[in-house]
Symmetry: C2
DNA sequence: TAATTATATATAGCAAGGTATATAAATGGA
DNA sequence: TCCATTTATATACCTTGCTATATATAATTA
């Protein structure tokens, strides 16, 4: 018999939904959505990345990233410019507004993490992170070797 | 500086997406989607639950459940009948087809969990589950006390 | 070089989550 | 009993994800 309350997949889904709500509520005042924040994390590190590069770094489907970038351009977070060496590609450059959001947005995300891990020891926090990373690697292994 | 590869929230989102893909691929042949499976888990236990009861058990928004139930009725998984004691409510009853999916669907879900946790010791698996349950409780605590 | 193959984006369509509203039925008080 | 409040669903609209296709530009190869 299948007990969802001890199923890794069910718990992962539930936990991710709660994290998303927590983040969404805290970055909504910045006019930012969770997937936009995730994309900004990469652009804050390396501005001007192409859609394909972002797809590789964030492990989402190309179509998903295409739509997220379209909304980000619409919301004035990025500007898309033709790639100087590849006529098919576009570079995605942060706007001043997007750059200004780095500090408040990352603080909001850290606050959610802190609230989520409240009461866990440092050892437990590290264990959770490492176990999730291990699980992610396992899942990627079984679904990619296509 | 914010490192997404060690952020509980980011990892939870990534892990949940990978679990969802794994489950979706395995239950697609049954003409079943992940949220439908999650809902069936409750109905297999207690047939005839109302929308409000399912909302409470699965911790999703009422509107989300309303749409999921609509798709399940459309797909012949449930039949909705007026509640005998409450004119506002409807009871959701499993069809024969839905009952027949219990075994293959739960086996598919168990297979995904097994693939995800491959290589982890029993102790590590239990630790991951318990840490996720703890994190879920923390997040519920901070977002509900509305 | 011409033709094929691969790569970068875009778009359509659907599921699942969420917020915000609306409506109808049930409940509780005054 | 009548009115206000609560509860059960439904719906509209938005984001995020996915699959499947289509298109244009590179790259490769015959």
């Amino acid at each position: 018999m299948f007990d969802k309350d001890f199923s890794a997949g069910y718990l992962a889904n539930h936990m991710a939904r709660l994290f998303a709500i927590g983040l969404q509520r805290r970055i909504a005042p910045l006019n930012l959505a969770p997937a936009q924040f995730m994309t900004l994390l990469e652009l804050w590190e390396d501005d001007g990345l192409t859609q394909a590069e972002l797809v590789g770094r964030l492990d989402v489907e190309q179509a998903t990233m295409a739509n997220t970038l379209k909304r980000m351009a619409r919301d004035g977070l990025i500007e898309r410019k033709p790639h100087p060496k590849d006529g098919r590609a576009q570079q995605n450059w942060l706007t001043e507004r997007a750059r200004s959001l780095q500090e408040p947005a990352t603080k909001a995300a850290s606050a959610v993490n802190e609230a989520a891990l409240a009461g866990l020891t440092q050892w437990e926090r590290t264990a959770l992170i490492e176990l999730m990373r291990n699980t992610i690697a396992n899942l990627q292994k079984t679904q990619r070797p296509s």
